[in-house]
């Protein structure tokens, strides 16, 4: 039997905000996923901020990208019941914080599978991207685990640093920075799942 052909991707375009991230952009529509994955009131000691920018070829921080992150919790489970204090999917557009940041409140996940280092899945959608692209956010604290991680091993040594979030603040809340470079010298590694 012939398999059916995949429905082609098309760009998310510049006008996704009221449909996909309405609460963040102050539209009168509920958001399915927000920039807050971890309820910091319940789990303040585990909360981290993951923030970054999306740079284009000219080094401009893009103000109309939508970043989606997917991650397991600290027990390694996908959680989608918000009342449990953790939600596995986050979404944020880069158009509401001056400087064009995305900024998620979350936690460092457990490793998804044995032998892997803790990592957050990240998907980039934006005007000028006809198909979304996937990357993975690792953390600089796990040097040994990162060295053995099977995804990082697929990447040449000199490009691995594009996948490692850097700790830029320790307290009162730990902040990790992860910038995406769509092109140019430090082009971020993207995976094809």
């Amino acid at each position: 039997m012939n398999k059916l052909g995949q429905t082609p991707s098309q760009t998310v375009g510049p006008y996704f905000a009221y449909g996909l991230t309405p609460e963040q952009y102050k539209f009168d529509h509920t958001s399915l996923a927000t920039p807050v994955l971890l309820d910091a009131r319940k789990n303040s000691q585990d909360a981290i901020i993951l923030r970054g920018k999306v740079y284009d070829l000219h080094g401009e921080a893009v103000d109309d990208a939508m970043i989606e992150i997917w991650q397991v919790d600290q027990e390694g489970k996908f959680q989608i019941k918000p009342h449990q204090g953790f939600f596995s999917i986050g979404r944020m557009g880069t158009g509401t914080i001056e400087g064009n940041w995305f900024e998620f409140t979350t936690c460092i996940p457990a490793a998804e599978k044995q032998g892997q280092a803790p990592a957050i899945h990240m998907i980039v959608f934006m005007r000028g991207l006809l198909s979304h692209v996937y990357t993975r956010v690792y953390f600089e604290d796990f040097k040994e685990l990162n060295q053995e991680d099977p995804y990082l091993k697929l990447v040449t040594e000199e490009r691995r640093s594009t996948l490692i979030a850097q700790k830029v603040q320790e307290s009162p809340v730990t902040i990790y920075e992860f910038n995406l470079h769509m092109q140019g010298e430090n082009e971020t590694v993207f995976f094809d799942y």
Partner: protein, 234 residues
């Protein structure tokens, strides 16, 4: 087991850099994507959002009403979400957003000189049923100009964001309408490999059309196959 079934089929999807669509030149990655071996891929993901679909979310002709009915041609859009083996995918969340009948988005950045409709918001969502079928009501969106090249116009379209069984089946796309003369000039549509383009065009369907109310359009969505039992005779 067909181990290629999970791959994104790049003979169906547009390339990351398509010079006719100018912003891809400096926003699309230039280096090759790194292929993840089959066994390493995330095999599960959250099935989410089902509880978040409010009663009027699937009816864009009603969910933005302030003081009257939205202007424009009412349509009903329905179709099936399938995997590549033709098996229906139930409980699949679909988010949609679009311009109004005049070709204007409520998005604050859209400054196109066309009227907003106080009774049309233009976003909604729906979920597929046990047979993989979704359905929503809306107003047929208008065409609008954009800045890609001189006299550039986007064909009528509805944006779709679809979740599937895992992160690999995530899809964002656009549904077009049959017979739209602007399709031949649209670099976003034309960036799709020719053999796959027509999959993005809905078909007019008299059977879906609701008498005295709305014209029907059929639009099926095929996500990458995953975790399905391949047919024996494949």
């Amino acid at each position: 087991m067909d181990t290629t079934q999970n791959q994104r089929d790049w003979t169906s999807h547009p390339p990351l850099i398509a010079p006719g669509y100018k912003s891809t030149i400096f926003r699309g990655p230039s280096q090759n994507l790194i292929t993840v071996p089959e066994l390493m891929k995330p095999s599960s993901g959250p099935i989410f959002g089902l509880e978040s679909v409010a009663p009027l979310d699937h009816d864009l002709t009603k969910n933005g009403i302030k003081n009257g009915e939205p202007l424009g041609e009412r349509i009903v859009v329905s179709g099936r979400v399938l995997n590549q083996h033709g098996q229906p995918l139930k409980n699949t969340l679909i988010e949609v957003w679009q311009a109004n009948a005049a070709g204007r988005y409520v998005h604050k950045r859209d400054q196109h000189h066309a009227p907003l409709d106080p009774n049309f918001f233009g976003a909604g969502r729906c979920v597929t049923n046990e047979e993989g079928i979704f359905k929503f009501y809306t107003i047929k969106p208008g065409a609008y100009p954009w800045g890609n090249h001189p006299n550039a116009w986007r064909p009528n379209h509805i944006h779709f964001s679809v979740f599937g069984p895992n992160i690999g089946t995530r899809l964002v796309t656009q549904m077009y309408f049959p017979g739209d003369p602007l399709l031949d000039y649209d670099p976003i549509y034309l960036a799709v490999p020719e053999k796959a383009r027509e999959r993005l065009i809905s078909s007019f369907d008299m059977g879906l059309t609701e008498e005295g109310f709305a014209l029907g359009y059929q639009f099926d969505i095929v996500l990458r196959g995953h975790h399905s039992t391949p047919f024996e005779n494949e």
